[in-house]
């Protein structure tokens, strides 16, 4: 079985590794590149824990071969914080708004929310809920995840976050 070279740009850095053609992107990221922030949850493209950003698209990295991403620009949770360690607005928001409990879904949630806010900088609550409908969280009931994304949207738009009355 022949190995193939897969070269991509991950979080701004050019990387490459020899992998089998059947290597899934999530395994390439975690095992070849040591980027274990993206999680394997269901491994069946339902839960979204493995979501990364590929060429401006949110993709479940358990359902794409590394070879299909050849040459792509990939952003993972490790690339969200600044080089100085300053949290991205979404990371800060998930902390401030208690958008996680166990944290397993969080990298996928943040990567999906990142693309959602790129496409729709000021989403309604309904748009946020539909936007993260491919990401499962078994702890929070989603309420604080939605608030976190609203908080991050406000911060990125340079306005104060006001929590809606419940």
């Amino acid at each position: 079985m022949s190995k193939c070279n897969v070269s991509v740009t991950v979080n701004g850095k050019s990387v490459s590794a020899e992998v089998e053609s059947r290597t899934l992107l999530i395994h390439y990221l975690r095992e070849n590149l040591g980027l274990t922030g993206s999680h394997i949850g269901c491994d069946t493209s339902h839960c979204g824990a493995c979501t990364v950003d590929i060429d401006g698209k949110s993709v479940k990295s358990c359902t794409i071969f590394a070879l299909q991403a050849q040459g792509a620009q990939i952003l993972t949770i490790e690339g969200m914080a600044g080089a100085d360690g300053k949290l991205h607005a979404l990371q800060e928001a998930f902390r401030e708004m208690h958008g996680l409990q166990c944290g397993y879904c969080t990298p996928g949630m943040i990567m999906r929310a990142h693309r959602l806010l790129q496409e729709n900088p000021n989403p309604s609550e309904a748009e946020i809920r539909m936007g993260i409908s491919g990401n499962l969280c078994r702890c929070t009931g989603y309420q604080n995840i939605v608030k976190a994304i609203q908080y991050a949207a406000a911060k990125l738009n340079g306005v104060d976050y006001k929590e809606a009355a419940e």
Binding site: R22, T44, M130
Partner: protein, 288 residues
């Protein structure tokens, strides 16, 4: 879950792809978005020895008008279908349906070609293509041919495409301006396949339905073209009696399996219910 081994090919043109399929083992498979095939490979329900990735083929991308028909190239993703202004103007039912497929991540990858080609009865686009009177463009070593969506499906995962053919596009005549449309999908949760779903395209003239076409999703081994159900409402103003006749006609051709979505009886009934709901919504749109 680790798929079996395979050799990966990424041709840059359609003719290269067909050339590859002609010379590779007959179990070579084309891969589009991969969101049906890769899960099947991970479960070892599919173990192709070669994968021919269509992602680099520019001619398989995009939406255009050609000879009075709307042409959607096979590798156009669900996300791109939703974003297409051309489709929103000519066939808004495609946006309505695409938005109900799976979830955002899957829609960035999943393609219209993959959705219609592989013959999964749970896929949403085949019934819609039947309602639109679409044809599928198949290209193989022997050239190009077109097959009507209504004739394409033979059974679950069995279609009239030949092993070395690639479905390159779907094409359909744009429904007339002012037509009514609806895709009514009953499902348990976001991302689920339909318990039952109905696609309706109709036109209204003088307050009465002039033309109507209905397709049904996931209530049989293939999508169904519900001709009798459509016939039941043509010439009517969609009164209660004709709506009931249409529902009964849809139920009569439904042959669903019992699964986690419900019993045979329930899912057959839902074929009728979704048909009535889709007809009602489409009629309201056409008469608004």
């Amino acid at each position: 879950m680790i798929p079996g081994t395979f050799d990966y090919h990424r041709p840059a043109s359609l003719s290269d792809a067909i050339g590859l399929l002609s010379k590779l083992d007959s179990d070579a498979r084309v891969i589009a978005g991969g969101h049906s095939l890769i899960p099947m490979m991970k479960l070892r329900l599919a173990s192709p020895s070669h994968l021919v990735d269509l992602a680099a083929i520019a001619e398989l991308k995009g939406v255009r008008i050609d000879a009075g028909e709307v042409v959607v190239a096979a590798m156009t993703t669900q996300h791109e279908l939703i974003a297409s202004e051309l489709l929103a103007a000519h066939a808004p039912i495609i946006r309505e349906t695409a938005a109900l497929i799976a979830d955002p991540q899957v829609r960035y990858m999943g393609t219209i070609g993959g959705n219609v080609a592989n013959g999964d009865p749970g896929n949403d686009m085949p019934a819609l293509m039947m309602a639109l009177g679409a044809s599928y463009v198949l290209r193989g070593p022997g050239g190009e041919r077109r097959v009507a969506a209504r004739d394409y499906y033979q059974g679950a995962y069995t279609t009239s495409a030949l092993p070395r053919e690639i479905l390159t596009a779907v094409r359909f005549p744009a429904p007339p301006a002012g037509h009514g449309y609806a895709y009514e999908k009953l499902k348990r949760k976001v991302g689920d396949y339909a318990t039952a779903a109905a696609a309706v395209i109709l036109t209204v003239s003088g307050g009465r339905i002039a033309t109507c076409a209905i397709g049904l999703t996931n209530v049989a081994e293939t999508a169904l073209f519900a001709q009798a159900a459509a016939q039941a409402v043509v010439g009517t103003a969609l009164d209660k009696a004709s709506l009931a006749k249409a529902s009964a006609a849809a139920e009569a051709i439904a042959a669903p399996a019992a699964d986690g979505r419900g019993s045979v009886e329930y899912r057959r009934k839902m074929a009728g219910v979704t048909t009535a709901r889709a007809l009602t919504r489409a009629f309201a749109r056409a008469t608004a």
